[in-house]
C-alpha cells in the first residue's frame, strides 16, 4: 500500500483527549467524530485536512484514554497515515485493529516540515519526503501484526477463527 500526502505536524505527547475530546464521545458516527478531529490540539485542523494528508508527530502519540474514537476520527478525517517518533501502546494497538496505517520513525520527524509532501510505502516502511528529496526507513511491523493489517483489521482476522 502506497500513498502520497501533505504533512500536518504536531508535537510530543498528543493525547486522545486532544485527538477527539470527550465532549464528542456521545456518538460512534465516524463522520461526526471526524468533524472534531484534533480540535483541542489545533482548532483549524478539521477545516484544513484533506483526503490523503499525513499526520507527523513527536513521541508518545495517542497517550491517555483507550477510546478507539481517536484512530476512527483520524481515519474518517481522510488522513492516510500517522508517522510519529513513538506511539502510546493502546493507540498503536487500536490503529492496527481498525486498519489506520501508522509508522514509527523517530529519525525522520524533526526533519519533516508542515506542508511537506510525503510518499509512504506502508508494507516496506519506506518514507520519501518529496519536498526535501530525503528518504527514511520506518520500523517494520512483526509478521503477526502485518497479517492483521493485510486482512483489514482484527475483526476480519477473528472472523475466520470463529467460523
Amino acid at each position: 500500500m502506497s500513498f502520497t500526502g501533505k504533512v500536518h505536524k504536531f508535537g510530543a505527547d498528543i493525547d486522545t483527549d486532544a485527538i477527539i475530546p470527550a465532549r464528542y464521545l456521545n456518538t460512534t458516527d465516524p463522520a461526526e467524530l471526524a468533524r472534531h478531529c484534533m480540535e483541542d490540539a489545533d482548532p483549524s485542523f478539521p477545516a484544513r485536512v484533506e483526503k490523503g494528508d499525513i499526520i507527523v508527530a513527536g513521541k508518545n502519540f495517542g497517550c491517555g484514554s483507550s477510546r478507539e474514537h481517536a484512530p476512527i476520527a483520524i481515519k474518517a478525517a481522510g488522513v492516510s497515515c500517522v508517522i510519529a517518533k513513538s506511539f502510546a501502546r493502546i493507540f498503536y494497538r487500536n490503529s492496527i485493529n481498525i486498519g489506520l496505517p501508522i509508522l514509527e520513525c523517530p529519525q525522520c520527524v524533526d526533519e519533516i516540515q508542515p506542508g511537506d509532501l510525503l510518499e509512504v510505502n506502508l508494507a516496506k516502511g519506506e518514507i520519501r519526503n518529496i519536498s526535501s528529496s530525503r528518504s527514511y526507513q520506518a520500523e517494520p511491523f512483526p509478521p503477526f501484526m502485518q497479517e492483521i493489517i493485510n486482512r483489514g483489521g482484527l475483526i476480519n482476522y477473528v472472523a475466520e477463527k470463529v467460523k
Binding site: 505527547d13 493525547d15 483527549d17 486532544a18 475530546p21 470527550a22 465532549r23 464521545l25 456521545n26 456518538t27 460512534t28 483541542d40 490540539a41 513521541k59 508518545n60 497517550c63 491517555g64 484514554s65 483507550s66 477510546r67 478507539e68 474514537h69 484512530p71 476512527i72 513513538s86 502510546a88 501502546r89 493502546i90 494497538r93 487500536n94 485493529n97 481498525i98 512483526p142 503477526f144 483489521g153 482484527l154 475483526i155 477473528v158 472472523a159 477463527k161 470463529v162
Partner: protein, 420 residues
C-alpha cells in the same frame, strides 16, 4: 532465569511454561470489560461476526459509568444500546444505574477480578486491578469485541521496571503521591509498553485502596500494567468477595528487570501535578496559594472509602470556601452507602459539598462539573490534559484527597497540615 509476576500470568494464560519479553502470545482472558463509551463501538464490531453468543456470559462485564445517569439524548442512546446488548446476550454482570459504580472501583468490590487473573478492559484505567496481583490492561473497543467472541487476546510480553519504596511514609503522603512521584520521575512515556512492578517495605504496609490508586495511574506513565505481589492485605480484601478460585503469583528472586528504581519516601511531601501533563509534579508547598474555582474528589483513582474518610476528616466542622464548588463522587453505591452510614456524607454536605451518585462525570469532561474558559480545578482524578475537564482553556491540577479537601476550605492549593 526466573520470571516476573507479569510474565508468569501471561505464560499461564498462553499455556506456556516460560515466556520472555518481546514474545507475541495469544492468551486466554478471564474477564472482558467495557463501559458506555467504549462498548457501543465494540458491539458494532462484535455484531459483524454474526454470533449468537459471547464466549462466556459470566466473564463479560459491562458497566455504564462515564456519561450516566444519561447526560443528554445521545448518551441515553449509547446507554440503551449496551443495556439491550446485555439483555440480548444474557450478560450476567451488567450493572444498572442505582446498583453500579465507577467500573474500576466496582469490579474489585464485586470480586469479579481476582489475583492471578488476566483482564482486558476497553478503558485505559483497567490497569487498576494489578493492585490485586492480576495482569490487567486497557485495550480498545475492537479488542473488546474480538475477546467477547473468542475469549482470547494477543499480547507482546512486556519488559518490567521495578519500583522499590522504602523509608517511613510521612503523614498525608498517600498512594496518590507515590505514583505521582514515579510519573514525575520517569515521565508520561517512561514505562511505555512496560510492566510496572511496585514493591518494597512501604508497599508491604500500604492499604488496598492506596494500591488501587497506584496501579490505576500506571497508564499515566505509559505502562502496559501496574502490578503488586499479593499478600495478606490482598487476601483479606479478596476473601468473601470471590465467587471463584484464584491463583497467587510472585516474581522469582532471579526475575529479570529492565531497571529497578528506588525511592526513599521519608522526606516526601504530598504532590500536585500541574497542567497539562501528570508528569508536571511539584511539592504541594511549592504551588500553595494557587487560586482555584472547583475541587473534585472522586474517580476510579480516588473515589474509594479511605479517600472519602480523609476528605471528611479534614472537612469535619469546616466550611468549603465561598468561591469554591466542591464536588464529591463516591466510587460505587456500596461505598456511598457505607460513607452515609458512617456519617461522612453528612460531614461533607454540612461543609458545603455537592455529593453525586457514582459517575466518571467531570474526570473526562463528561458532565457533573465541567469547567468554563479560564477556570481552574484541583481534582483527585488521573489526567490533566488540555480540555480534560471542560473548556480547552481551563486547567486541571491533580492531587490526593487530603490536599483536595484542604484546598476546598481555603480556596487555594493548600497543604493539609495548614488546616488541620
Amino acid at each position: 532465569m526466573g520470571m516476573t509476576i507479569t510474565e508468569k500470568i501471561l505464560a499461564q494464560h498462553a499455556g506456556r511454561e516460560e515466556v520472555h519479553p518481546g514474545e507475541l502470545l495469544n492468551c486466554r482472558v478471564d474477564v472482558v470489560l467495557g463501559n458506555d463509551i467504549t462498548s457501543p463501538v465494540a458491539i458494532e464490531e462484535f455484531e459483524k461476526l454474526k454470533l449468537d453468543r459471547v464466549f462466556d456470559r459470566t466473564r463479560v462485564v459491562i458497566v455504564p459509568d462515564h456519561f450516566v445517569p444519561n447526560k443528554d439524548i445521545k448518551s441515553a442512546e449509547q446507554a440503551k444500546k449496551i443495556r439491550e446488548f446485555a439483555r440480548k446476550y444474557d450478560i450476567e454482570n451488567y450493572f444498572e444505574i442505582g446498583r453500579m459504580g465507577i467500573e474500576h472501583c466496582l469490579l474489585p468490590q464485586e470480586g469479579l477480578v481476582l489475583p492471578g487473573d488476566l483482564i482486558i478492559g476497553a478503558d485505559s484505567h483497567t490497569c487498576t486491578y494489578g493492585a490485586l496481583g492480576a495482569f490487567a490492561t486497557g485495550v480498545g473497543s475492537t479488542d473488546m469485541a474480538a475477546a467477547m467472541a473468542t475469549g482470547e487476546a494477543w499480547f507482546k510480553v512486556p519488559e518490567t521496571i521495578r519500583f522499590l519504596f522504602y523509608g517511613k511514609l510521612p503523614p498525608y503522603v498517600s498512594g496518590k503521591d507515590l505514583i505521582l512521584r514515579v510519573i514525575g520521575d520517569i515521565g508520561v512515556d517512561g514505562a511505555r509498553y512496560m510492566a510496572m512492578e511496585f514493591a518494597g517495605p512501604v508497599i508491604a504496609s500500604l492499604s488496598m485502596d492506596n494500591r488501587f490508586t497506584m496501579a490505576n495511574m500506571a497508564i499515566e506513565a505509559g505502562g502496559k500494567n501496574g502490578i503488586f505481589a499479593p499478600d495478606e492485605i490482598t487476601l483479606e480484601y479478596v476473601r468473601g468477595r470471590n465467587k471463584r478460585e484464584y491463583t497467587l503469583y510472585y516474581s522469582d528472586a532471579d526475575a529479570r528487570y529492565v531497571e529497578t528504581r528506588e525511592y526513599d519516601v521519608t522526606d516526601m511531601e504530598p504532590l500536585v501535578a500541574l497542567p497539562h501533563l501528570p508528569e508536571n509534579t511539584r511539592n504541594v508547598s511549592e504551588v500553595a496559594g494557587t487560586v482555584i474555582d472547583q475541587v473534585v474528589i472522586g474517580s476510579c483513582t480516588n473515589g474509594r472509602m479511605e479517600d472519602l474518610e480523609i476528605a471528611a476528616r479534614i472537612l469535619r466542622g469546616r466550611k468549603v470556601h465561598p468561591e469554591i464548588r466542591l464536588i464529591v463522587i463516591p466510587g460505587t453505591q456500596e461505598i456511598y452507602l457505607e460513607a452515609l452510614r458512617k456519617g461522612l456524607i453528612e460531614v461533607l454536605i454540612e461543609a458545603g459539598a455537592a455529593v453525586s451518585t457514582p459517575t466518571c462525570g467531570p474526570c473526562l469532561g463528561g458532565h457533573m462539573g465541567i469547567l468554563a474558559r479560564g477556570e481552574k480545578a484541583l481534582a483527585t482524578t488521573n489526567r490533566n490534559f488540555v480540555g480534560r475537564m471542560g473548556d480547552p482553556q481551563s486547567e486541571v491540577y491533580l492531587s490526593s484527597p487530603a490536599v483536595a479537601a484542604a484546598s476546598a476550605i481555603t480556596g487555594r492549593i493548600t497543604a493539609p497540615w495548614e488546616v488541620e
